[in-house]
């Protein structure tokens, strides 16, 4: 997968382009809004909205009442931004097996949030462990393996987004 050169670059001062998106990542991105809808599943909720202490039940309850709604709003907002951007994902050329997408540069943080949320949601829904993440024998037709493949594909994109945020590969693509 990494042999394909996924590229994130600034198109101009206000726009970013992700190009050479391979089929698995394109699939993961199309699935992303559906994955994010599962953020309130019981298995996922405690991971995305964790308690602030390990022992103080009163503080945890207060936290849940006062901070969780704001956090939830933040996560939903990021997901909506990315879902709207994803409507613009197109093939690189007619019949091509690679895709590209352009969006506003100030959406990059929303992308990082939404991509990471989706990875965590899949991880919780499928009880993914450290050893699962090391597996090489993944079968796309197996639901848990498919989730791990999506987690890896989104990790690749997240790494590139972080690199882009660090100022690497940020020159306009002539």
């Amino acid at each position: 997968m990494n042999q394909i050169h996924l590229k994130i670059c600034a198109v101009d001062e206000k726009h970013v382009r992700i190009s050479a998106i391979p089929p698995l990542l394109a699939y993961a991105l199309r699935e992303l809004p559906h994955i994010l809808e599962k953020r309130d599943s019981p298995e996922v909720h405690a991971r995305l909205f964790p308690a602030p202490t390990e022992k103080d039940l009163q503080m945890n309850a207060d936290w849940k009442e006062f901070t969780t709604p704001e956090l939830r709003h933040l996560f939903i907002s990021a997901g909506e931004t990315v879902a709207q951007d994803l409507a613009g994902m197109e093939p690189e050329a007619e019949g091509a097996n690679l895709w590209h997408i352009e969006f506003l540069a100030n959406h990059v943080d929303a992308w990082m949030s939404a991509v990471n949320q989706a990875r965590l949601i899949l991880g919780e829904l499928h009880s993914v462990t450290d050893s699962d993440m090391e597996r090489k024998d993944l079968d796309f037709n197996n639901p848990k393996d498919r989730a791990i493949l999506i987690i890896h594909a989104l990790a690749w994109l997240l790494e590139e987004l972080i690199r882009f945020g660090d100022g690497e590969d940020s020159l306009p693509s002539a």
Binding site: P50, P52, T53, L71, L74, V128, E159
Partner: protein, 96 residues
């Protein structure tokens, strides 16, 4: 060095209790990327990359890292920010 004539301040028990520092702790998980955790530490705490990577490695290898210690209100603020970045973070009073 010359000392000023200011009288020492004797804190009350309540004041001492309020002043008890809190640790902000980040916990390991199998999904979050090392590069992502490093980036979050740089953004939230303003750590230099080297320091951010040291804490990230401590989280990765030991399962947790105390990333900040100080007043409760600021600790709450940091934990809230870390949760916003989807890291598992907690806070606890420093054992005296």
């Amino acid at each position: 060095m010359t000392q000023t004539g200011t009288a020492p301040i004797h804190e009350t028990d309540t004041a001492e209790s309020l002043a008890t520092p809190w640790n902000v702790i980040v916990h390991n998980d199998p999904i979050n990327l090392m590069s992502y955790v490093t980036m979050v530490f740089q953004r939230v705490f303003g750590f230099a990359r080297t320091k951010a990577e040291q804490h990230m490695m401590e989280v990765h290898q030991k399962g947790r890292s105390i990333v900040w210690t100080g007043e409760r209100e600021q600790a709450e603020h940091y934990v809230h920010q870390l949760h916003g970045y989807q890291l598992t973070a907690t806070m606890e009073k420093v054992e005296v």
